[in-house]
Structure formats: structure tokens, C-alpha cells
């Protein structure tokens, strides 16, 4: 058996130290990017749990920013690994992991959010490639991304799940127009992406023509595994903001608020421990559906905690810090005003799958309850009401 700790120490002794990117490239080439990936693709084909040893040994060395590369890392990479050609894996995985090329996701559309398979963006054959036309929405990082994972309709005469094909979209191609989408907080974390007659060569197709839904399911399953975030300490995050307010401001305390705060503290600690347990299961090589529980619980908690904080602060709580449009790249739950926190928390039960869709998924895939009767799975997409 390979001794990972020895390997990492040997790598560390010989790795380039002059430039962070050079270091990250060398780390990828040594198979120490994600050790459970195959050799030659940033990994060594080892059990996933050994990654923790690698990360521990390489603490303090140059690192990619997991938030900036989150979509590439959590969604594009596992999809490329499972469905990509050898050439696609070689081309995309290294700069994805080093952070030299950022990724975004062109899935949701104004007319197809939760009902993703109903999307209307068209991909039409054109010689040795495809012409893409349509509009995508809620695309974070699109204004920074070099590549996108793209789901488009290649056959409107088939039922909606069967007429889809999965592509890698070149975000620098002519016809790609990225516009900020301002949200209710005033800032624009997300974008609208207009695709007008964008040409993509056929070697940017991922998986077979018409197999886009199966490929997308790989992406979506990995999205849910990665949601839930890293480990916060007990009493950290939003509940920490609330308890700090309580401790620092005796004047805002009421008996009713005390009980509600303690309920929220208990709920936050329960959610935190659920996340800890889910990560332990993942590390033990047995990823369960617990990520969905963490996501649902966090969405509700964030809304209740920020709502209580706003109420406790009274008139002060109604002063917003700034409505100017910013291009935020990450949620700033702890750095901004309580009004921002409260407003931004409204997105937590919508983004990454609404709470309602998640409950359906839990009911059907985890609990095994029967699906709701549907009328849209056998009808050609073209004939569906939209």
C-alpha cells in the first residue's frame, strides 16, 4: 500500500517554491490534487479519505481558493471525470484545479428553474460543431469564468428529458453575453447569460447526443454532496452573530427573545453536528443523503436567525449599509449589515434546489415514496405548455 504521508513529504521537499501556480501545477502532476482521482489526472487512484492526510501535510503551502473554483471543483470536475473523453480530461482538469481557469454552470433558465429538464436553449448541428441560442440565469461567476458546463436542447421532438445534450461552453466565444443580474440585496452575485448563435466545436460535447440528462444528474448529485460547506466551530456563523448581539447589548433582551434564541442555538448546534457526521461518512467512503438534511436545515435556520436579529435591534436594525450595485463573488453573511443578512438568507431556500424540490427528492429517493403522477414525461417537448 502506498504511504501517502511519505509521498507528500517527498513532494514537498522537491516542489517548486518560487511561484504559487507552479507549485499547484506540480502538486497536480504529482497526483496530490485529489488523491481519489486516477493517476495522470491529478490523483493516484487512492481512497478518498486519504485526501485528508495530503491536506494536513500540505497545510501552509499555496492553495487554490475553494470558493472561486467551487463550481469547477464540485460540479464540472466529477462530471468530466465520469463522462469526458481522455482528451477532455487532459485539457480541462489541471487548470480547473489550479484555479487558472474558472468555471460556471449554464443550467437554469428564466422558464426552467426547478423544472430544469424543460429548458429551451437550443443546440443545432452546424458542420463539425453546434450553434447554441438561448438564455441562462442565476449564473454565479459567469463574468469571471473561462468555461461553463452547459445543458441545451438538441431535439425538441423528443420528450423533455431525452432531447438534451451536455456541452462545455467556451465563455470567450462570440455570441456569449454576460450581464449582471441584480438581486434583492442590491448586489449582483449572479448573471444572466445570453447565448446568440454561439459556435461550439463537437469536441466540446460531453457525453452522447441526447444523453444530456444522464450527464447532468452526475453534476447535480455532486452539487448536493458538496453543499453544506466546511466545519464551523460550535456557536460560529450566524448563531454567533446573534449570541454576540445578546451578550453585548443587555438593552435588547426580552424573555420571549431569550427562548427563541435558545431554540435557534439548539437547532444550529444540531445542524452543525449533522454536517460533522455527514463529512465523517463521506471521509469513511460512505456518502449518505445527509447533505440534503444539512441544506434544508441551514436554509430555515439562516432565515429565522437573521429575522430575530433584525427584530432585536429595533430601529437600528432597519438601517441598511449600502444599496449600490456590487459584484459580490461570495455571500458575506458576517461582514455586512443585519438587513443584508436577512435579505440574503431568503436565497438559501431557493439556490441549489428549492426546499420544496429537496423535500420531493428526499421523499422519493431516500424514503422511497411513489413519484407524483406526471403528464410531461412522454409528450414531445415542443408540445408542452410553457
Amino acid at each position: 500500500m502506498t504511504d501517502v504521508r511519505e509521498l507528500v513529504r517527498a513532494f514537498r521537499a522537491s516542489a517548486p517554491t518560487d511561484d504559487p501556480v507552479a507549485f499547484l501545477r506540480a502538486r497536480f502532476d504529482a497526483g496530490l490534487a485529489w488523491v481519489h482521482y486516477p493517476a495522470g489526472l491529478g490523483g493516484l487512484g487512492l481512497p478518498r479519505e486519504q485526501q485528508a492526510i495530503v491536506d494536513e501535510e500540505l497545510a501552509g503551502t499555496p492553495s487554490n481558493d475553494p470558493r472561486r473554483i467551487g463550481i469547477g471543483l464540485g460540479m464540472a470536475a466529477p462530471t468530466l471525470l465520469r463522462h469526458g473523453t481522455a482528451a477532455q480530461k487532459r485539457r480541462f482538469l489541471r487548470p480547473l484545479w489550479t484555479g487558472e481557469e474558472l468555471w460556471c454552470q449554464l443550467f437554469s433558465e428564466p422558464g426552467a428553474g426547478s423544472d430544469l429538464a424543460g429548458l429551451a436553449t437550443r443546440a443545432v448541428r452546424d458542420g463539425d460543431g453546434w450553434r447554441i441560442t438561448g438564455q441562462k440565469v442565476w449564473t454565479s461567476m459567469a463574468h469571471r469564468a473561462r468555461w461553463a458546463i452547459l445543458l441545451a436542447r438538441t431535439d425538441p421532438d423528443l420528450p423533455k428529458h431525452r432531447g438534451l445534450t451536455y456541452f462545455v461552453c467556451d465563455m470567450t466565444a462570440p455570441g456569449v453575453d454576460v450581464r449582471p443580474l441584480r438581486q434583492l440585496t442590491g448586489e449582483a452575485e449572479f448573471n444572466e447569460v445570453f447565448l446568440t448563435d454561439v459556435f461550439l466545436p463537437d469536441d466540446l460535447r460531453l457525453g452522447a447526443v441526447g444523453e444530456g440528462w444522464a450527464v447532468a444528474r452526475t453534476t447535480l448529485m455532486n452539487e448536493r454532496v458538496s453543499i453544506g460547506g466546511g466545519a464551523l466551530p460550535r456557536g460560529g456563523g450566524l448563531i454567533g452573530v446573534l449570541t454576540a448581539l445578546w451578550t453585548g447589548r443587555p438593552d435588547v433582551r426580552t424573555a420571549a427573545a431569550h427562548d427563541e434564541m435558545m431554540r435557534l442555538w439548539v437547532a444550529a448546534e444540531a445542524a452543525r453536528l449533522t454536517g460533522v457526521r455527514a463529512r465523517q461518512q463521506l471521509a469513511a467512503g460512505d456518502p449518505g443523503p445527509e447533505g440534503s438534511a444539512v441544506k434544508l436545515a441551514f436554509a430555515e435556520l439562516a432565515q429565522r436567525i437573521t429575522g430575530l436579529e433584525l427584530e432585536l435591534r429595533g430601529a437600528d436594525g432597519l438601517r441598511h449599509d449600502d444599496w449600490t450595485m456590487r459584484r459580490g463573488e461570495a455571500v458575506d453573511f458576517e461582514g455586512r449589515s443585519p438587513t443584508y443578512r436577512w435579505l440574503r438568507a431568503k436565497g438559501t431556500s431557493i439556490e441549489g434546489g428549492t426546499s420544496e424540490i429537496l423535500r420531493n427528492i428526499i421523499a422519493e429517493r431516500v424514503l422511497g415514496l411513489p413519484a407524483e403522477p406526471r403528464t410531461d414525461t412522454t409528450v414531445p417537448w415542443r408540445e408542452l405548455p410553457r
Binding site: 449570541t243 426580552t254 442555538w265 439548539v266 465523517q280 436545515a297 422519493e364 431516500v366 424514503l367 411513489p370
Partner: protein, 352 residues
């Protein structure tokens, strides 16, 4: 702290299920002496946390928590919580050896003579004997030894000895009988100071009761899902309606969280010291969270079973009664939230 189940715990679970499933019967009479003997003789679980040198298995409260889960799932009417968890913990802290050895070999069952819920009883010591009354004592019906706090001491009293009267209570939870205890000049042997022993027993009991509540909630979820899958109304299984699905998904989310909390609490009380802040915090968190989860799961179980859920013949009511009783027993969720606030320094309104 590892919140997963170990291989040993999973195999203990398998053995327990095999035994309990074969014995599942009517729990109406409140104590299944035969199952209790089998648990002691075949699996040795009554002495699980008794030290090895006293004839026990020397296991930690983590493994005992696993037993609590399965006893909760099957609603087995045996005094495991009162005897094998709380009395054993009190005896260990008090430094007793004789009663512990008898519990380990299955020849005796012990119970703490304190009310299952609420403040303590009123027992006086006069001339080396005990006199007084303790209401609503759990697991005392099957006990051979009563551990009675009086003054500042904990006394060992023979349950069928002179001056001891046990009067069964008609209680909400028929699967965990309560008795009113009356002592009149009953002889007792002091085994140590009462407060440390009772405090430790209470912390261990509250922490592990969460695992029982988890088992109760899991049974309620599983049986309701099974029912929703097969019960046809309006021409299709009721489990295909979103109104039902979403409620069951919410129960699953809360059960998933209760599992993490219960495992955490079991781990936190598995160390040697039970009077530290961390075990007390874990026990309070466990009761503040898992009690309400079990009640909600049982309420949803009754509701989503519809008419059959409201009958005596369906077991849903037994789980509902157990869930509600345990959510009050070793302190309500509100009381535990108060305890947590104290431990965390989150003072109530009106204090500077």
C-alpha cells in the same frame, strides 16, 4: 468526536434486533421479565457499563446508547434506563461494588428512588432507618434494590424488605411503569454521598434517553413511510401526494439531525468525568433537541396513519405515549434550554 457507529456497535445492534424482534409481543403488562433475563444472559447488556473487574462488560455509555436505540425502536418494556444506565452510573460514582456485581451477573435489578420527572422525593433518616415518600419512580417495579437519597447520603434499600411499599401508578406510558414508593422505618445501608451520584446518573440518563428517542422516532418514520407507500386513496398511494411527502421529508430531516445529536451526547458522556461542563452541555442539548423530535415523529405517525392511527390496536399510540413521557421525564426541552443558557453564559432578560 466520531459520530458514526463502530463495527462492534453494528454487530451489537444486529444481535439485539434478532432477540427483540423474536420477542416482540404485547407490552401492555409493563415489564417483560423474560426478555430482561435474556438480555442479561444472552447479550450481557444489563452489565454492559459495569467495570470488568466487577463482572461487567466494561463498555462505555456509547454502546449503552446503542442498546437504548433498539429498546426504543421495539418499545421493549424493560428497566434498562433506570437500572443499567442510571443506577449503574450512580453506583459507580458512589464507589459501590456489591450491587454492581449483582447487576452484572443478572441476579439483581436496581432503581434510583427519584421521581421520573420533577423535583425529588421527601425521605428522612431516623435511627438508621428511612421514612418518607417518593412519587412516580420509573423502573422500580422490577427492582430488587432501591437507591434512596435521604439527607446527603444515598442508601441501598431492599425493594421487598420491611417498611417498603410500591404502589403502581396508572401512567401515560404503559410500557414504562411508574410506582409511588412509601418507606416507613425501612432499613438502609449508606453507600456514599447522594449529590454527585445523582448528578452523574441524571447527566448519563438524559444523554442516553436521546438515543431511545431516536429509536422511537425512527420506528415512527419507518412505519409511516411504509404505510404511505401502500395505503391507496383517491386512486393512488397517499405517499405520492406532495402534502404527505413533504411532511415525511421534514420528519426524516429532523431524525437525521437527532441521530447526530444523540451520537454526540453518547460520546460526550463516555469519558470518566460526568460533572464537567461538556457532558452537561451535551446532555442538555440532546434533551432540548431529541425529545421534541420524537414527539413530532410520533404525532405525525398517528396523523398520517389516519383513522387506524387513532386506534388502540395499532401500536402508534404506544410510541406517542412513550415520546411525550420521555420529553418531560428528565426535564422538558424548555428546562434544558435554560440549562444550556446558563452553561453558555447567555443570560436571560433583565440580567446585566
Amino acid at each position: 468526536m466520531n459520530l458514526l457507529y463502530s463495527q462492534d456497535e453494528e454487530s451489537l445492534r444486529d444481535s439485539l434486533r434478532a432477540l427483540l424482534r423474536s420477542r416482540a409481543g404485547s407490552p401492555d403488562d409493563g415489564f417483560d421479565a423474560q426478555v430482561w433475563r435474556l438480555l442479561a444472559a444472552e447479550l450481557g447488556v444489563t452489565g454492559l457499563i459495569v467495570p470488568e473487574k466487577l463482572g461487567g462488560a466494561g463498555a462505555s455509555l456509547r454502546e449503552a446508547a446503542l442498546v437504548m436505540e433498539e429498546l426504543g425502536r421495539f418499545l421493549t418494556p424493560v428497566p434498562y434506563l433506570g437500572c443499567a444506565v442510571m443506577a449503574v452510573t450512580a453506583l459507580r460514582v458512589a464507589g459501590d461494588t456489591t450491587v454492581l456485581s449483582r447487576i452484572a451477573d443478572g441476579s439483581a435489578c436496581a432503581a434510583l428512588a427519584v421521581p421520573f420527572a420533577g423535583p425529588g422525593g421527601d425521605v428522612r433518616v431516623t435511627g438508621g432507618t428511612l421514612t418518607g415518600r417518593v412519587a412516580s419512580v420509573a423502573d422500580a417495579l422490577a427492582a430488587d434494590v432501591l437507591l434512596v437519597p435521604a439527607g446527603d447520603e444515598l442508601y441501598e434499600v431492599a425493594a421487598d424488605g420491611p417498611g417498603v411499599t410500591r404502589t403502581p401508578v396508572v401512567s401515560l406510558d404503559v410500557t414504562r411503569p411508574l410506582v409511588d414508593l412509601t418507606l416507613s422505618a425501612a432499613p438502609g445501608r449508606s453507600i456514599g454521598p447522594a449529590q454527585p451520584a445523582l448528578g452523574a446518573a441524571r447527566t448519563a440518563g438524559a444523554a442516553l434517553l436521546a438515543s431511545e428517542q431516536l429509536g422511537v422516532a425512527e420506528w415512527c418514520l419507518d412505519s409511516t413511510v411504509e404505510y404511505a407507500r401502500t395505503r391507496i386513496q383517491f386512486g393512488r398511494p397517499i405517499g405520492s401526494f406532495q402534502a404527505i411527502k413533504h411532511r415525511l421529508a421534514d420528519v426524516w430531516v429532523s431524525v437525521t439531525q437527532a441521530r447526530a445529536v444523540a451520537r454526540f451526547a453518547a460520546g460526550a458522556v463516555s469519558g470518566v468525568e460526568l460533572d464537567g461542563a461538556e457532558p452537561r452541555l451535551a446532555a442538555a442539548l440532546a434533551q432540548a433537541h431529541c425529545g421534541p423530535v420524537a414527539v413530532r415523529a410520533a404525532e405525525e405517525c398517528v396523523q398520517l396513519h389516519g383513522g387506524i392511527g387513532f386506534t388502540w390496536e395499532h401500536p402508534a399510540h404506544l410510541y406517542l405515549k412513550r415520546a411525550k413521557t420521555t420529553s418531560v421525564a428528565l426535564g422538558t426541552a424548555a428546562a434544558h434550554r435554560g440549562e444550556l443558557a446558563g452553561l453558555l453564559g447567555l443570560t436571560p432578560a433583565g440580567t446585566p
